[in-house]
């Protein structure tokens, strides 16, 4: 990596900003500003810094509508908002997807709009930690805050996740390296364990690596639970791991003072889905008979957890909430975005602060091509190519302040550092405008 000299040419430093990238929500980021532009970022990881720095690249700045020739044409805000409101008001099975990269403040009018038109509201959990949320509903949530891990944990387990690549500051800021109140020597006072079929960058750093086979998570956790209950394991290898290793690991886990288990999509999206999390949670409950253990999902987007908390608080269901019959319903496979698209049920799709064009499976995207798509976002991306109405929003945490929830459910108020481009509007304003305009159309048609 080439040496990059430090940035010295700036007007001011905005201190203690919150990084709007992953679920670690690092709130110690300093943003260097010159002429209302970000010229440098301090303390953030490369992922966070590049998101904040390269924001101007491919930025959506004006509202657009796709014309008869299939080209996106620039229009004024009124025209674009009216067109979007018409589409939403006339839909039979609208889906409002996204929300994980915007603030709680924008979700509030979004939920009101969903209720008004009888839509489905869903977020990225539907393709990431949805199974986690289901398992938590089934068997509970033995969670903690990341501060507790920093100050107390002497064993940290990562499974099905690779934070060195996906949450780069997670080990450095919260779990493994920092010196804590009871862990004065930092890394030396902790045992780092990775359970992962892959020899990931996190596994390379670990003291113990358990490479169980793919899809073997459920059988592996079940075996540890059996050992904890005093059973002598019968099979020589369980999920590809020798039984002696499982017994030795179980002993280590029993003899820690404070253990923390972190899991990612490697656990939520293998064969037995939510049951992997279900049994991991119960394993943690079992371990609490011997010592203190906690568990936390490695949430991806900076506010994906916020949406689930907001929805669960407001409506009782965390994601994929369907208001088509006037009351909230929630059923995986029935009221979730991918299934509604795969089944070609959805007839108007609004995406806010998400990029389904880059992440959805082919079948779902094929249907998005056929139906009107409204996009509220800050960047030109694959979803823009699918969009019929484009409404440019602002960047939460850099251009607009707002509230988000960290992966451990701690709410964090994100400051703004610069002003947004003049032609863009805040997400909250856009969603609220849509709500008012749809209300007017509904009242006129009564």
């Amino acid at each position: 990596m080439a040496y990059e000299p430090p940035v010295t040419d700036y007007d001011e430093i905005v201190e203690n900003c919150t990084c709007a990238f992953c679920g670690s929500n690092c709130d110690d980021v300093d943003i260097l500003v010159k002429d209302n532009h970000v010229v440098g970022v301090r303390h953030a990881c490369r992922l966070g810094a590049s998101k904040i720095m390269e924001d101007e690249d491919q930025r959506l700045t004006v509202p657009m509508i796709r014309d008869e020739n299939g080209e996106l044409m620039e229009v004024d805000w009124d025209t674009a908002l009216d067109r979007a409101a018409e589409l939403i008001a006339g839909a039979v099975r609208p889906v409002f997807y996204g929300w994980s990269e915007t603030s709680i403040e924008a979700m509030k009018p979004g939920l009101e709009l969903t209720e008004l038109v009888g839509a489905v509201i869903d977020n990225q959990a539907t393709i990431c930690h949805g199974p986690t949320v289901q398992a938590v509903q089934n068997v509970g949530y033995p969670l903690m805050t990341l501060g507790e891990v920093k100050n107390r944990a002497d064993m940290v387990v990562y499974t099905g996740s690779n934070p060195m690549n996906a949450h780069p500051r997670h080990l450095a800021r919260y779990t493994t390296f920092p010196k804590g109140f009871f862990r004065k020597r930092g890394r030396f006072d902790r045992t780092l364990v990775t359970w992962d079929p892959k020899y990931s960058d996190t596994a390379k750093l670990s003291d113990i690596w358990i490479p169980f086979e793919e899809n073997g998570d459920y059988g592996f956790c079940n075996a540890i639970r059996a050992v904890l209950k005093g059973k002598e394991l019968k099979q020589d290898f369980i999920s590809g791991i020798p039984k002696e290793d499982i017994v030795a690991l179980t002993e280590k886990m029993k003899n820690t003072q404070f253990g923390a288990l972190f899991f990612g999509l490697g656990l939520t999206h293998t064969l037995s889905k939510q049951r992997n999390i279900d049994i991991a949670i119960q394993l943690v409950q079992d371990l609490n008979k011997y010592t203190k253990w906690v568990l936390l999902p490695m949430r991806g987007h900076f506010n994906v957890n916020g949406f689930n908390i907001f929805m669960a608080y407001e409506m009782g269901f965390p994601y994929g909430v369907d208001f088509c019959r006037g009351y909230p319903r929630y059923m995986i496979g029935e009221t979730t975005t991918i299934d509604l698209l795969n089944r070609k049920e959805c007839d108007v799709f609004m995406v806010i602060a998400a990029d389904p064009g880059a992440h959805f499976p082919g079948g779902a995207l094929a249907h998005l091509v056929d139906i009107p798509v409204i996009q509220i976002d800050i960047h030109w991306g694959p979803s823009t190519e699918l969009a019929d109405v484009v409404l440019p929003g602002t960047f939460i945490g850099v251009e607009t302040a707002g509230t988000s929830y960290r992966m451990d459910s701690v709410p964090i108020y994100m400051k703004k550092a610069i002003d947004p481009p003049e032609t863009c509007r805040e997400d909250e304003w856009i969603v609220n405008e849509l709500l008012q305009r749809v209300k007017k159309i509904k009242e006129a048609s009564k």
Binding site: A91, G118, Q134, S272, I279, C324, E334, K344
Partner: protein, 278 residues
């Protein structure tokens, strides 16, 4: 058309599909308990929920009504064609009979309390969810979560009988607390997970992990099981066992589990086909 069942006079309602809707129709209001007193005109006036709207049922179906009914028990409703986009067929029904001559969509027989539902095709996921009574027969396959609980709920199917002539998908009968399921074909992972009571019989092969975290109840597998969980302890080899009042012939390997949750559930594997577990 014959409009009686045995010696009881029945009201026969026949719905013949004329138009397909890609947005699923919801039939939770079209159950014998609601419609036993409806005339043909009532059906023609009825608007069926489709997405966030309601449209006339006559847009989608030709409706025929024959005979009279004094109670839901005397109703026989036939959906004479594919209902692959009709959800909640027989949802919460308490009596009477529904026959689907084709596939059924999600939630067929969900929260059913009585009566009978026959699907002469395949059923989508959540068939017989939280079923409390009555009988469901699926002549084809079912997808995931048949006889299961509401998402996040820890109490699933508690009564009635679900018979599947084809194969069953993943996580059959999650959190089952009563009733009976008979799968005549194969079954995918985690049948009877979190089960506390009830009976599951699978005649075909099973991929992995039946009875994960089961506390009680019984699962009988007559085919080959690939992977067994460590949470099951070998109890005995039994001959001609009787399980929950049903007699089985031949040798079976009996396991007790899942010990991870101090479970006392019974898992019986056909000994001939499961020698590899001994």
């Amino acid at each position: 058309m014959q409009a009686n069942r045995g010696d009881v006079n029945v009201k026969q309602i026949t719905l013949t599909p004329i138009k397909f809707s890609s947005v699923a129709l919801e039939f939770d209001e079209l159950i014998p308990d609601e419609i036993y007193s409806w005339s043909k005109e009532d059906f023609e006036k009825y608007e069926v929920p489709v997405g966030n709207s309601r449209f006339p049922l006559t847009d989608y179906y030709d409706i025929e009504v024959e005979g009279e009914a004094q109670s839901p028990e005397e109703v026989k409703m036939i959906i004479d064609g594919d209902a692959g986009r009709v959800k909640y067929i027989g949802g919460k029904m308490g009596a009477g009979e529904i026959i689907v001559n084709g596939d059924a969509d999600l939630q067929a027989g969900a929260e059913m309390e009585g009566g009978s539902l026959t699907i002469n095709g395949n059923a989508e996921s959540y068939c017989g969810r939280e079923m409390r009574g009555g009988e469901i027969t699926v002549m084809g396959n079912v997808r995931e979560y048949a006889g299961t609980s509401y998402i996040g709920e820890w109490r699933g199917m508690s009564g009635g009988k679900l018979t599947i002539h084809g194969n069953a998908g993943k996580q059959l009968a999650d959190a089952m607390s009563g009733g009976e399921i008979h799968v005549m074909g194969n079954c995918d992972i985690l049948a009877g997970i979190h089960m506390t009571k009830g009976f599951i019989q699978i005649d075909g092969d099973v991929t992995r992990w039946p009875g994960g975290q089961m506390k009680n109840g019984a699962i009988v597998i007559n085919g080959r099981l690939e992977r067994l969980l460590e949470g099951f302890e070998l109890d005995a080899i039994v001959t001609d066992p009787e399980v929950e009042g049903r007699q089985f012939t031949g040798k079976y390997i009996k396991y007790i589990g899942d010990i991870g949750v101090n479970g006392k559930g019974t898992l019986l594997l056909n000994a001939e086909k499961n020698r590899h577990h001994l």
